[in-house]
Amino acid sequence: MNRAPILEINHLCKHFPISRGLLASFRRRPAQSVHAVDDISFQVQPGEILALVGESGCGKTTTAKLLMGLEQPSGGTIHFRGQDVATFDLKQMRRQIQMVFQDPYESLNPRMTVFEIVAEPLNVHGLARGREEKIDRVKRALKDAGLKPAESYFNRLPHELSGGQRQRVVIAGALVLESQVLVADEPVSMLDVSIRADILNLLRDLRETRGISIVFITHDLGTVAYFADRIAVMYLGRIVEIGPTHEVLKNPQHPYTKALLSVVPVPNPRLRRERIILQGETPNPINVPSGCRFHPRCPVAFDKCKQIDPPYVEVKTGHQAACLLVK
C-alpha cells in the first residue's frame, strides 16, 4: 500500500445551511446547518474497491456527490492523483471520475438509443475523432460492460432492456471515457437477486481488466463482504470505522459496526443469532449529539462518551475505529 493513492480525501465536510424563518432572523438566532458530511478522511488506491456503508442519512450519498463535484465541500480537500480537484473544472473532473446510479430505470433517457446514450459522453468531451472511432469506443465499452455482441444493442431503446442490461448500459456510459474512478451508489439494490451477482462480478472484473478504482456505496453489508477490499462504516456524517474487509467483518471494533453486522440477515436458519437491534433511527444531523455522536443509541456507552469525541485508534495496520472503548 505504498503506491500513490488515486483519490485522497482529507477532512472533507459538507454543511447545508437551513433557511430560517423571518422571525428567527429578527431574533438573531444562530443559523443552523445540517452536518451531512463532517470531517471524513480516506484514501483510495488504484484498482481498489472501497465500500462506504451506513444507514440512510449517514452522509454516504453526499460523499458521492462531493466526489463527483455535484456539491462543493464546505471544508477539506479532495485530491485526484495528488492534484486538488478544486483547481479542475467540472469537465476535467468527470473525465476521471464517473458515477453509476442506483436506479437503471430512471437514469437512462427513454428516447435515446443505447448507442446515443453511450456515445453522449464522447460528444460532450469531444473525444472521438470521426464516426469510426466513436463506434469503436462505444463498441468496446458495451463489450466490457458485458453486452455482447455490442452491435445488436446499438439501436435498442432502454425499455427493450431488462433491469440488468440497463445497469450494464449505465456502466458502459461510465466506461466509455476510460475514467479511473467509478463511484457506484447502490448499483444493485434495484435489481433481482439472480442478476445482482452478475453486475457485482462485472464490476470486480473491470477492476482486474481496466485497473479501475471503485467507491461502492451501499447499506448492504452482505454484498460488501464479497466485493470490497476495504470498508468504511459511516454514522451521522463521520467514518466510525475503516479497515480491510475481512478485518472489519471478523473483528469489528466500533459498537455501531457490531450492531450493523449483527442485524444483517444470514441465509442460513442454523445461524440465527442474537441481534443487537438499535432502537429509534439515526438522529437528525442538525443536532449532532455531543461527544461521541453514537452515544445516545450505543448499547455500551458510558459517561465520558457524552463529552469526548473519540479520536481514531489504530487497531491493526490500516484498521481504525473511533470509539473510547477501543484500545
Binding site: 439472480s194 445482482r196 447499506h219 463482504a225 444483517v264 444470514v266 441465509p267 436458519p269
Partner: protein, 360 residues
C-alpha cells in the same frame, strides 16, 4: 413496548386478543391452499400466472414465499385474497380457511374475510398510506367498516383501539393525529402493520415488508413481526425475494418458479439440503456475510414469459443439470421426504438426495 392482552377491560375495543391462542390445538390447518391456478387474459394471449400452487399454514406458523420477480408470488397472494385485477381469473383450486372455501363465498362474505380473517401488509410503505388523512384515522378505517369481532365500535372505543394498536407496534399514541409525511419510513411500515392487525386477523400476508428499508429498520420491523406472531398466534405469509430474511423469520418455505411450486419444505431443509436446482442456484446467487470467500454465481437467462411457457419443466432452459425428458415432461410436485416437496425429474423417490453437481 408492553402489550398485555389480559389486562384489558370489557369494552369491545379491548376484547382480549388471546382468543386466537385458545384455538391453536385444532388439528386441521388454519389455511389450506390446493392447486390454485390463476390466468390473466391479455392482448398477447392467456398468461398462466400461477398453476397448481398448494400449501398449508397452521396457526402461529410462518411461511416464506420466495422467487425472482415475475414468478407469481404476488399473484398467488392476490388470488388468495380475491383481489385480482379484472382480467385475472382463478381457473382452478381451493382456498380453505378453517375448512371454508374462500373462492366460493359470495362477495359480501369475502369482504368480511378480508381484514377480519386475512389481512395484507402492502409493499412500499412509502406510498400505501393516504397522504391527506391522519395515520390514526387510516388505522381506524378497517375497524369502522368491519367492526371488531362482530361488534360495531363507538368513537371512544374506536379511539382506544387505535391507541392500543399503535402501542402494539411501538408508536407513541400521541402521534395518531399526525400525517404520513411526518412519519419516517420505518414508522410508516409500523403503521401499516397496525392497520393490518386492526380487525384481529388470523393470517397476515406481508408482501416485501422491508424492501425499501435500511438494515437496522428492517431488523426492527422483522423483530416486531416475530413478536406479534408469537404473542397473537398469528400465521404469517412473508412474500419476498430476500432469502436471508426468510432464513431468519420463517418455519416453512415455498420456492416458486414460473408460476409453479419448485420446492416446498422446512426452512432448514431448504437452506441445508436444497433439492431443486433452482433453489440451489438462488442460494448461490445470494451474498452471505458469514462466507465472504464464497463466490457469487448469477443464474443465466431470465424467467420464462408466461404466455410462452416451455412444454416441459419451466426451469429447463436455465437449468445446468437438465436431462433429456426435462424439455418435454413437466415434473410433478412430489413429496420425497416427509414434508419436503420437490418438482424435479432428477430427484426421485428412490434416491431422494440425488447428487446434482451444478457448478464446477
Amino acid at each position: 413496548m408492553k402489550f398485555n392482552p389480559r389486562r384489558l377491560g370489557s369494552d369491545p375495543a379491548s376484547i382480549s386478543l388471546d382468543w386466537q391462542i385458545d384455538n391453536m390445538s385444532s388439528p386441521a390447518p388454519l389455511l389450506e391452499v390446493k392447486n390454485l391456478s390463476t390466468h390473466f387474459l391479455t392482448d398477447d394471449g392467456v398468461m398462466r400466472a400461477i398453476e397448481d400452487v398448494s400449501f398449508t399454514l397452521d396457526r402461529g406458523q410462518s411461511l416464506g414465499l420466495v422467487g425472482e420477480s415475475g414468478c407469481g408470488k404476488t399473484t398467488a397472494m392476490l388470488s388468495l385474497m380475491r383481489l385480482l385485477p379484472p382480467n385475472g381469473r382463478i381457473v382452478k383450486g381451493q382456498v380453505l380457511l378453517e375448512g371454508r372455501d374462500l373462492l366460493r363465498l359470495p362477495d359480501s362474505e369475502m369482504q368480511e374475510v378480508r381484514w377480519s380473517k386475512i389481512s395484507l401488509i402492502f409493499q412500499g410503505a412509502m406510498n400505501a398510506l393516504n397522504p391527506v388523512r391522519t395515520v390514526g384515522d387510516q388505522i381506524a378505517e378497517p375497524i369502522r367498516r368491519h367492526g371488531l369481532l362482530g361488534a360495531r365500535l363507538d368513537n371512544n372505543a374506536l379511539d382506544r383501539r387505535v391507541r392500543q394498536l399503535l402501542d402494539m407496534v411501538g408508536i407513541a399514541s400521541s402521534r395518531q393525529d399526525q400525517y404520513p409525511h411526518q412519519y419516517s419510513g420505518g414508522m410508516r411500515q409500523r403503521a401499516m402493520i397496525a392497520m393490518a392487525l386492526a380487525c384481529t386477523p388470523d393470517v397476515v400476508i406481508a408482501d416485501e415488508p422491508t424492501t425499501a428499508l435500511d438494515v437496522m429498520i428492517q431488523a426492527q420491523i422483522l423483530d416486531l413481526l416475530q413478536k406479534l406472531q408469537r404473542e397473537l398466534g398469528l400465521a404469517v405469509i412473508l412474500v419476498t425475494h430476500d432469502l436471508a430474511v426468510v432464513a431468519e423469520m420463517c418455519d416453512r418455505v415455498l420456492v416458486m418458479y414460473g408460476g409453479k411450486v419448485a420446492e416446498y419444505a422446512d426452512v432448514d431443509a431448504i437452506y441445508n439440503e436444497p433439492l431443486h436446482p433452482y433453489t440451489r442456484l438462488l442460494l448461490e446467487a445470494f451474498p452471505d456475510l458469514t462466507q465472504p470467500e464464497g463466490k457469487l454465481v448469477a443464474i443465466p437467462g431470465y424467467p420464462p414469459r408466461l404466455n410462452a411457457l416451455p412444454a416441459g419443466c419451466r426451469f429447463e432452459p436455465r437449468c445446468p443439470a437438465r436431462i433429456g425428458k426435462c424439455a418435454t415432461v413437466d415434473p410433478p410436485l412430489r413429496e420425497v421426504k416427509p414434508g419436503h416437496w420437490v418438482a424435479c425429474h432428477l430427484v426421485s423417490e428412490q434416491h431422494p438426495i440425488h447428487p446434482i453437481t451444478l457448478l464446477q
